[in-house]
């Protein structure tokens, strides 16, 4: 057996009595646990936070008998998160239809825009969750935040795959997007009476500088400059430094080398200012100058403003190595993380995932995310997108399918356990070429069929995919149910749809029994209009033709009726139990004048023939 990646989490079942030995059974998305009478020696219990829990009381025997349902994935039952599943399903289906033959540049733009679509769906959910503001949801909001952070980074590094130069700009955007509190603080400061004297003023200015937002920083500094006319020159100098910092322009004509030269030039100028003690009299400006020159210690002094090691990383890159190449990222990432985090603190899952991303280890990212999250949604969709970008090497797993398919199958199987979202899962299975069909076949039969309308939808799904076994099985279920409720017409339509001859025979027998019992047919509309469907089974054909015979008789078309009856008798498709009935039906015909002579004789013969037969049976 393989080594485990992490220790398995332990879930407390509070309702279970102390000391009881639990039995369990796996379900599609959950575990059923029950108490047994077995006493195991020396059982101990670990105290861990439970995942989600439901208890149902069951039959009351001796001792308390409960069945506990332990479910891992609560997300699919959250009404707000459901929108995430539905909208992302829509995006997913759209993604699968992107044509393979498009030139790769166009495809990349499309993939980036699809990635942005996914992210905007996540954000929309997050905003809605935040508005609800229940305490339970705080965890969900933070998980979604983390997911979006990771996805955004993956988009920057893997899908957009920016080279040196634009890479830093994208990373700056990434950090800015996920550090929203700067704007809030800034708003607070600006709305106050005297912004330059607000206690958070310098925090805001420094935060802006740390994020490379020099325009805003300069605007803020102007306010301070007006308050201190004596230090005007200093502020002017700082303003100049800030305005002259070069930013790489991806659309421009400047090459990376040219930009690098310019940047170094500017960097030397800032350093000179520092050496000259130009800002010595104003500690805040001195700090800003040190930041601009990329002094690590100064940066680390502002840990609360940076708040995360990856912000520290991007800031450091901005002021030390703006031309960083993608392949160099992981050196800086590792060192920044080490510098930023305490030696004692254990890196959180998010940190190791981000680090793996900076190392361009896609598989590690996916693996860590799979472990950390309780729902396959994120990894399934991200992996699918990355697979479309041709970024995943084919990584054969034990089950023979590749990573993408494995994750999609897991995700879709989870969806199938949901009473409503199973319909989405069908599309996911469709896009798993190796095992999707088999999974669908196994799962679709488990969908409960309460109404005919639902059964029709499920049938349509099966018929579109040529799953004839399942079609037959579903139709049989519905037909049996109809039969049990004495809805013979309904049962017959179901068996015709399934092309189930045996069942059609059974139902026709019931019709005929009905006729024998009551003397009339119960479902004339249906029987009269079957058309070629009546050929499905012999018994059914007989039923239809027999009814036709009655119709002809009632319309006084005796010769035709006689011919039909004759053919019925001679064709021998009548059930044995019916022969006497047929013969008695023939009697009045023999008395009719219109019946042709030949028919007469034939009937006599047939009569005799069958009489002989019936004597021997």
């Amino acid at each position: 057996m393989e080594e485990l990646d992490v220790e398995p989490a332990i879930t407390n079942i509070p309702a279970a009595s102390d000391g009881k030995h639990l039995g369990f059974a796996w379900g599609p998305g959950d575990i059923l646990a029950y108490e047994t009478l077995y006493m195991a020696p020396g059982m101990c219990r670990h105290q861990h936070k439970p995942l989600s829990m439901f208890s149902h009381s069951c039959a009351k025997g001796s001792g308390c008998s409960f069945i506990h349902e332990v479910r891992k994935d609560e997300d699919i039952y959250s009404p707000i998160l459901r929108k995430l599943f539905n909208e992302s399903h829509h995006i997913f289906v759209g993604l699968q239809t992107i044509r393979e033959d498009l030139p790769s540049k166009n495809k990349k733009t499309q993939f980036v825009s699809i990635s942005k679509n996914y992210r905007s769906v996540i954000r929309a959910c997050m905003e809605e969750l935040q508005q609800v503001a229940a305490s339970v949801l705080v965890l969900q909001v933070s998980i979604l935040l983390a997911i979006e952070l990771i996805w955004n980074l993956c988009e920057v590094l893997f899908i957009d795959a920016a080279p040196a130069g634009p890479l830093l700009l994208h990373l700056l955007d990434w950090v800015r997007l996920h550090k929203g509190d700067v704007d809030e603080k800034a708003r607070e400061v600006l709305q106050s009476e005297s912004p330059a004297e607000h206690h958070d003023y310098w925090d805001v200015v420094v935060s802006y500088v740390l994020q490379g937002r020099f325009e805003e920083a300069r605007q803020m500094l102007v306010k301070q400059a007006t308050l201190q006319p004596a230090a005007r020159n200093m502020y002017k100098l700082m303003d100049t430094l800030l305005s002259k910092m070069p930013f790489y322009n991806p659309g421009g004509t400047q090459t990376l080398t040219e930009f690098d030269v310019k940047w170094r030039h500017w960097h030397e100028e800032v350093d000179r200012c520092l050496q000259d003690n130009s800002f010595a009299s104003n500690q805040h400006l001195e700090i800003i100058c040190k930041i601009l020159v990329g002094d690590e210690d100064t940066l680390l002094e502002h840990k609360e403003l940076l708040s995360t090691w990856y912000h520290f990383l991007v800031t450091r890159l901005l002021f030390c190595h703006p031309t960083v190449k993608p392949t160099e990222l992981h050196y800086y990432a590792q060192s920044c993380m080490t510098m930023f985090l305490d030696l004692r603190s254990v890196p959180e899952p998010l940190d190791s995932i981000l680090l793996a991303a900076f190392e361009f280890d896609i598989h590690q990212v996916i693996k860590d995310c799979s472990i950390a999250l309780n729902n396959w949604w994120f990894v399934a969709h991200l992996t699918d997108l990355l697979d479309h970008c041709k970024l995943l090497q084919s990584h054969n797993l034990h089950f023979g399918s590749n990573l993408r398919e494995f994750l999609l199958l897991e995700y879709a199987s989870g969806l199938f356990t949901h009473h409503s979202l199973w319909q989405l899962a069908v599309d996911y299975f469709d896009n798993c070429p190796e095992f999707g069909h088999v999974y669908l076949e196994l799962q679709i039969e488990r969908v409960p069929l309460d109404t005919e309308r639902k059964a029709l939808k499920v049938l349509r799904i099966c018929e579109q995919r040529q799953m004839s076994e399942q079609v037959r099985s579903i139709c049989k279920i519905m037909a049996m149910r109809a039969l049990r409720n004495n809805r013979l017409g309904s049962a017959l339509s179901w068996s015709i749809r399934a092309k189930d001859a045996a069942f059609a025979t059974l139902i026709s027998e019931r019709f005929l029994q009905d006729y024998c019992a009551r003397g009339t047919f119960s479902d004339l509309d249906l029987i009269d209009n079957l058309g070629p469907a009546m050929l499905l089974s012999d018994r059914l054909t007989f039923l239809v033709k027999y009814r036709e015979f009655h119709k002809l008789y009632e319309e006084n078309r005796f010769s035709e009726a006689a011919k039909l009856l004759l053919s019925l008798i001679t064709a021998k498709i009548a059930p044995r139990s019916f022969w006497m009935t047929l013969l008695t039906d023939a009697l009045p015909l023999l008395e009719q004048k219109e019946v042709s002579h030949s028919a007469h004789c034939a009937l006599h013969c047939g009569f005799g023939h069958d009489l002989c037969f019936s004597k021997h049976t």
Binding site: R82, H90, R453, K457, N485, R487, S490, N529
Partner: protein
Amino acid sequence: MESVNAKYVSQKISKTRWRPVSHSSLQQPDIFATGSWDNEDNKISFWSIGNHGSSGMDEGFEGDPQLLCEHKHDGDVLDLQFLDQDRIVTTSSTGAVTIFRHHQNSQTISVSQRWPRVHRYPCDNAPCTGVVCSSPEIVTVGEDGKIIVFRADQEGVIRVIENADSSTIHAVTYLRTTEILTCILYLDDVLLPLHCVDRHPNQQHIVATGGQDGMLCVWDVRQGSTPFSLMEAHSAEMWEVHFHPTNPDHLFTCSEDGSLLHWETSTHSDMPSFLQGGRNNSMISRSAMAPAGGNQSLISTWLSGDSSKGRLETTHMLPSQTLSVNSLDVLGQCLVCGTDGEAIFVNRQVPV
């Protein structure tokens, strides 16, 4: 076709209906009701699109439906109709029929009246599949093959027609005030259940139906049991068909295949098309005999629908790749529909 935005609502929508607007006012409809299905807790909800006649308003997100109120519903909502301005009738998969009242002032919903288990088998509930009402009378049909008549203000049922059929009755509509038309199946070459039916608003003998194979049929109920014209509409079951209530040259259908079609027939032809002859391979048309010397305006264009002369236009109204569109309703210039993808689409500028 301008872009239509989806509003995701976390429940699969089985039915959606506009609240009727009074004929005197020229207002566009602004409130619609939806019913959900396939949930553990189903709901009926009222939504507003805030349409108060301001025509200069920007389309798009401003028109997003806002939830006004909702109420729990026992079982899937299989059909839903407005009884009057404040009350809706719903039928359930548990066989119950319920009247809900929407209190506009407090934006709450209360159960006004309920008939539990009216549709049932001897030992089980039967889903009640369709309802039609003409206040105060309500008629429902169900999988048990019964037709049941109620009055909105009376406790018990007025009349039960048992064993109207031993198949499931899928849909029902009023033909005249005293006649109803129920929908089971028809035959062309194959036996196929019909799922939906709608009557022409002005010419009551004309009825359109949609079936399991997605065919749209137009019938003249005065004449025989074969449809007047058959048109291939969809590639899967057609769930609803609606004539536009004030402009019946327009017809709307929605289907399991995820499409919503807008059919438009024009009346600008001098010669009735059945005299023009010709066939179109996407449509089989069998016209019955028109009354001799019949006035063209009396013969509905639906009965002579022949798309080969450009008289019948079809447009898709939704972006492709949606799951099944279960329900639609159209009133004035507004169209609302609900899908199995848990989304509601509202289009406020339907070209009619």
